[in-house]
């Protein structure tokens, strides 16, 4: 079994296999690659590169996708917060 390394995924520490790629990480997390953008140490990766890019100790990975938006309240997590005039 390959040695483990520690990386950060969306801000949280995580151990992965030393020879793991970005593609391996997404599969381990059960994330569909068609729906996400991945930033590796601030570099935005092309989906085609996911299986070629190996992870190294201390790498910072950000995985992002689309959420409901167009309104600022959920951006700050304040909920719906409406008051209806009666």
């Amino acid at each position: 079994m390959a040695e483990a390394i520690q990386i950060h995924v969306n801000g949280d520490p995580r151990d992965v296999r030393a020879d793991a790629t970005v593609g391996d990480l997404l599969r381990e997390l059960a994330i569909k690659k068609e729906r996400v953008a991945v930033e590796l140490n601030l570099e935005i990766l092309d989906r085609k590169e996911f299986d070629q890019r190996s992870l190294k100790q201390g790498d910072r990975v950000e995985i992002l996708s689309f959420i409901g938006g167009g309104a600022p309240l959920d951006v700050y997590g304040r909920g719906r917060g409406f008051v209806h005039a009666e």
């Binding site: 995924v9 969306n10 801000g11 949280d12 997390l29 059960a30 994330i31 729906r35 996400v36 953008a37 991945v38 930033e39 935005i44 990766l45 092309d46 989906r47 950000e62 995985i63 992002l64 996708s65 689309f66 959420i67 409901g68 938006g69 167009g70 309104a71 600022p72 309240l73 959920d74 951006v75 700050y76 719906r80 409406f82 209806h84």
Partner: protein, 257 residues
């Protein structure tokens, strides 16, 4: 709405009502409201995937990207650098070069930082993005955004989520007359008459989120907005009568006893 498409940068949009996907109770409500609105463009935000709870559903399970044009935004960005980063991530996560560019200047009003907006727009246009900028109702800024390559302009009607309606119809009208690209009134609409008013002024489309998602019955309001945008568009094309101070009789005097 039939046979009255909106074309921006060679892309054809069938609906003149565009909607945001935030603030709904759940994804089922989001889907129903968007269906009721008839919109074919939906805005989305770009955020971290929840990796600790993978059971959470994904918005795209409810909104088929083949059926809807997904328009990522840079909501929540308060400087050029962040807006560029989110725009690039939005493109990487999606399938198109469309971006609704927001560079905000103030948390309380969410008014845009128009200097930052123009700077960010210029860079993204050079990178091949189709930049739809959320801007103030300032005609000079609108023209500058067109000058840096924005194929449409999205001026606000009122602060985001405020529901105040069209606060400065005269400025919006000047923008419509001054710039030669489509104008999408974005933010501030409160109810159906606001949307109709924006379209009667000559807006090419209206984008809203809170007015629908925050209504007591979002699905019914989505339907109301669909008809309001349609009615406003028809009235604009039909050409309203001029306002006059005194009455003009509609019935002939001739033939009276």
């Amino acid at each position: 709405m039939q046979n009255d498409p909106l074309t921006i940068a060679g892309r054809v949009f069938t609906s003149r009502l565009w909607v945001g996907t935030g603030k709904y109770k759940d994804f089922a409500e989001t889907k129903k409201a968007i269906e009721a609105s008839g919109a074919d463009v939906v805005t989305v935000a770009v955020r971290r995937v929840n990796i600790t709870d993978r059971s959470k559903e994904n918005l795209l399970d409810y909104l088929d990207p083949k059926k809807y044009i997904i328009l990522p935004n840079t909501a929540g960005c308060y400087n050029v650098e962040d807006a560029l980063r989110y725009a690039r991530l939005g493109r990487a996560a999606g399938v198109s070069d469309l971006i609704k560019l927001e560079v905000l200047g103030d948390e309380r009003t969410l008014f845009p930082d128009t200097a930052g907006l123009i700077e960010a727009a210029k860079i993204l246009v050079k990178e091949g993005f189709i930049v739809l900028p959320y801007t103030n109702d300032d005609p000079i800024v609108a023209q500058k955004l067109v000058d840096v390559g924005c194929p449409a302009i999205m001026p606000l009607a009122a602060p985001i989520g405020s529901g105040l309606g069209i606060r400065n119809p005269y400025n919006l009208k000047i923008i419509m007359e001054m710039v030669n690209v489509p104008i999408i009134v974005d933010a501030g609409v409160g109810t159906a008459s606001d949307a109709a008013f924006a379209m009667e002024l000559g807006a090419d489309a209206v984008l809203m989120n809170t007015a629908i998602a925050g209504a007591k019955d979002p699905i019914a309001m989505a339907e109301a907005m669909k008809y309001a945008v349609y009615a406003g568009r028809l009235a604009y094309k039909a050409g309203r009568i001029p306002r006059k101070l005194y009455a003009t009789a509609s019935s002939p005097i001739e033939g009276m006893l």
